[in-house]
Amino acid sequence: MKKLIRTGAVLAILGVLYALSLYKHAERDAARRAPVALTPGCAEKLGRYGLAADKLYRSPYVLAREGEARPARGYAEDDVRAIQRGCNIIDDTQGELATVSLERWNAKRFIRGSHASCDHCHQSIGDKQDADGNPLKGSLSLGASWVMADMYDRFTGLLLPFELRQMQCYINSSNGYKPNIADDLVRDVTAYSRFLSAALDLRIGNHYDEQGIDEIAASHTLKQGDDYVRGEALYKQKCISCHGPGAQGTVAGGRVVAPALAGPNAWNMQSRNYFYYVSTILPGFICRNMPPGQENTLEHQECRDIAYFLSNLPRPAGDKQGPLTALQQQLMMNALPPLVRMTERVTTKPIQEGEQ
């Protein structure tokens, strides 16, 4: 009798789990079919690129610039919604503008901090252009990344598919966890990136200037060496007004105004943005994309100095650093900001008094 009850209990638990999975599956299916509430940025971008369900797609962007646009296969309603959701995920990864977290496929659960969003690196929702509509060099365009995906990646030693690259972004740049390759979260971002490449008429396997980062190696400078003190001074001059003291980021009204560049909300030590892992990428990003509105105004050495300074501030350990480094970084992240504030009070006070 006892055995029968035990077997019944196990079967009942399995039945409940099965019912729960059916319910969750149906919930996801309903979310796929639901109309998408676009963020203001996505409404503007996708409207400008003429995204609509139709048999053929002709890019208004290409038509306006070149006088004609090749007809491409159009999109079904399901495709349009996937592209819209993908755009929303890039623009608002943390779901600050979403009414329910499922609208962004719970992207937040794959991110540890509260700041990281795809469009912090992939600016202008992965499609940064100047006032004349020209894509900007080294601006991490998602459309250009898609056409150049699947190539050999020298950092991982892999032929890196686009989907796997997205996983790396979640693990390292967002200091988080890996979504499944077939997750809607990944597939929708791929759909959006593919649409961008159609809207800009990019061809498979071609290299475009806006693809990836325009890396800055030490050999691109006067080889003065990267300097923490110069970097800190430049940070205070050029970056602190947005990114705040200690590069901890700024938040207003519950929304991230400028993301953290160090501390618990920043990318981790396994990210390619981390100077000690890859010393050419963050300087390249800074020179080509920062400060907003004044892109390409910093000298190469200045970008390297800022990157060097930022990478010396404490940040989370990556998955390859091990528990001792993780512990050390946690201690530094908690202890250093109050110490720096205290030191700054002590060092700035006499000067103020002296001036009076």
Partner: protein, 169 residues
């Protein structure tokens, strides 16, 4: 069986398992690891015609494309785990139904809603279905080189044809 003691039975069982593992490892005729890919008939011609050597920065990509070529043309030999087709079957390889150009067009038109299945289908989804249905075999995972390298082959051909997203013939 009663005459055989327990330790002899255990030894026989271990020997049987080891024998099966050895047979599975060596019996397929496919080495566990290959640093290079065997050039099959037609590869050099294909490589020259489609400019494969000029695509990709590294030999890894070209090797993967070569493996993709072998998978498409000699599926039974290069993906024996995922197909039951043999040389005796009329349809026994991807190339029995598709040209490489068609695969490239399929690649740039993938990740779209397919009314036959009532859902959005990726290129990998289609390849896996082909293994399961047309090739009467087993579904590989999406990470498997038997899927990935066909995508890379399609990408290389799409580059040669200078196709963009959604290109129509």
């Amino acid at each position: 069986m009663r005459g055989i003691n327990a330790s002899a039975r255990a030894a026989a069982l271990v020997a049987a398992v080891a024998g099966i593992v050895l047979w599975a490892h060596t019996g397929s005729g496919v080495p566990a690891f290959r640093a290079d890919v065997r050039p099959e008939p037609g590869w050099e011609r294909f490589r020259a015609d489609y400019g494969i050597s000029h695509f990709g920065d590294d030999g890894q990509f070209v090797r993967a494309v070569q493996n993709g070529y072998n998978l498409v043309h000699f599926t039974g030999r290069y993906a024996p785990r995922f197909t039951r087709r043999t040389a005796a079957d009329r349809v026994n390889a991807c190339a029995s139904c598709h040209t490489v150009d068609e695969l490239a067009y399929s690649f740039v038109n993938s990740d779209r809603y397919d009314p036959r299945f009532g859902q959005r289908m990726s290129f990998e989804d289609h390849v896996r279905r082909c293994y399961a249905e047309r090739l009467d075999g087993v579904v590989p995972t999406v990470y498997d080189p038997a899927v990935r390298d066909i995508r890379l082959l399609a990408r290389a051909v799409a580059h040669h044809l200078q196709l963009g997203e959604g290109a129509v013939r």
